[in-house]
Symmetry: C2
Subunit: 237 residues, 2 copies
Amino acid sequence: MSEIPTAAISRLVTYLRILEQLEGQEIARTSSTDLAERAGVSAFQVRKDLAYFGRFGTRGMGYTVALLKRELVRVLGLNQTWNVVIVGVGRLGQAIANYPGASDYQFQYVGLFDVSPELVGRQVRQLTVRHIDELKDFVRDNKVDMGFLAVPPERAQDAAQALVDAGVRGILNFAPVVIGPRLPEGRPSEGSGQQEIGDEWRAVIVENVDFLAGMKRLAFYIRNPLLKDPTGPETPA
Amino acid sequence: MSEIPTAAISRLVTYLRILEQLEGQEIARTSSTDLAERAGVSAFQVRKDLAYFGRFGTRGMGYTVALLKRELVRVLGLNQTWNVVIVGVGRLGQAIANYPGASDYQFQYVGLFDVSPELVGRQVRQLTVRHIDELKDFVRDNKVDMGFLAVPPERAQDAAQALVDAGVRGILNFAPVVIGPRLPEGRPSEGSGQQEIGDEWRAVIVENVDFLAGMKRLAFYIRNPLLKDPTGPETPA
DNA sequence: GCTTGTGAACGGGTTCACAGCT
DNA sequence: AGCTGTGAACCCGTTCACAAGC
């Protein structure tokens, strides 16, 4: 049905961040022009993006920071608690677990998983690292919503499959690989009515955060500056 | 000339990764259909993306992995050495510095910078952490091409400005803030001919890697699954 | 026959101009 | 007057169908 550009969602996140900054500076009102400048987009864009979700401003006046912020929080689904597990507790996984800002919005790290005997059993950020074999039971018992995947690339597909089998609804994939339903080995699926392989993936959302890709895009645009990058969405990874 | 979708560049990076995997499995040939399946896009898309840069296949035959890989490396600018500094050597900066895969393509970390007295002087990955005041001289003397920005959000704008003043050509920004030329405080610029404030940013490419944003996008799409996210594992038949 | 390469059609996202409210 | 909200125009990226070549 609805047609909301995915890029608009990324921008909403940016607007929200800016509103928080404004609130921190005790600035109570803003405008599409002001937000646009701070976000690095056009004022048209700001108004259009907001219009997808409602009418949050006052004509002639602009937006009140507190109200618009509250609305964006609601729109983005940040007014609920999200239970998160991190799979892969190496340097990157630990950096993520300790990065400030996640808990601001009720993202709660409830479990850490790894396979390494050196890590399993250790405490990281008040949590005991568990073996990945325990993932499925843990996700069920703790109502886990999403998994962050920070394992080495060669383990990413298996770990992703484990997360999906365990029943998470979304994966934030930090590994530099495409994860998804495993391709049927032989010929492509000739859907004969019964359960498709990979169907568990149907309802799972995957979002990628790939800094190696960002690095390579950067290299490209430095050498080809004429094709200027519109503050690229790490969107399509 | 300059009409290459930025999304196409992201996909080229993905294709390249897939080609490396194929090479690792000693698979010598592939096709647009095969690449498309593995990348999670359509075969049309693969062919169109490649067509922006040349003709790399053989009709009726497909692509040879080694050749296509070599061409993508060239197109993306990965056949040269890139000297990189990391600004911000906290947990995230260290995780980046130690993440494998960067050096595969001649990305060389040549300098680490921070302001914290506890970090400056310490050794991380064979490099001594320097104070950020030394950045400008260092960038000049070491022909630094790009800077990775892994400082806390409140320091990001200043650190970015320091990188730009120092003369880097690109910034990979891990901080969850929009960085850019500082807005003139008073009224907007009335370009009166002389040097604009923020002009040093003209030629600088900024690429963002923001996992907090990814997390929030994920929350949104979990709650609104109908608006399916294109980065997802959909394999357009 | 099979797979690439590409001009053209299509569709969706951004830009615009202006209507509508304060 | 000032700024938001929005239908319509525009433009760009994706999809398509088919021509070109092995």
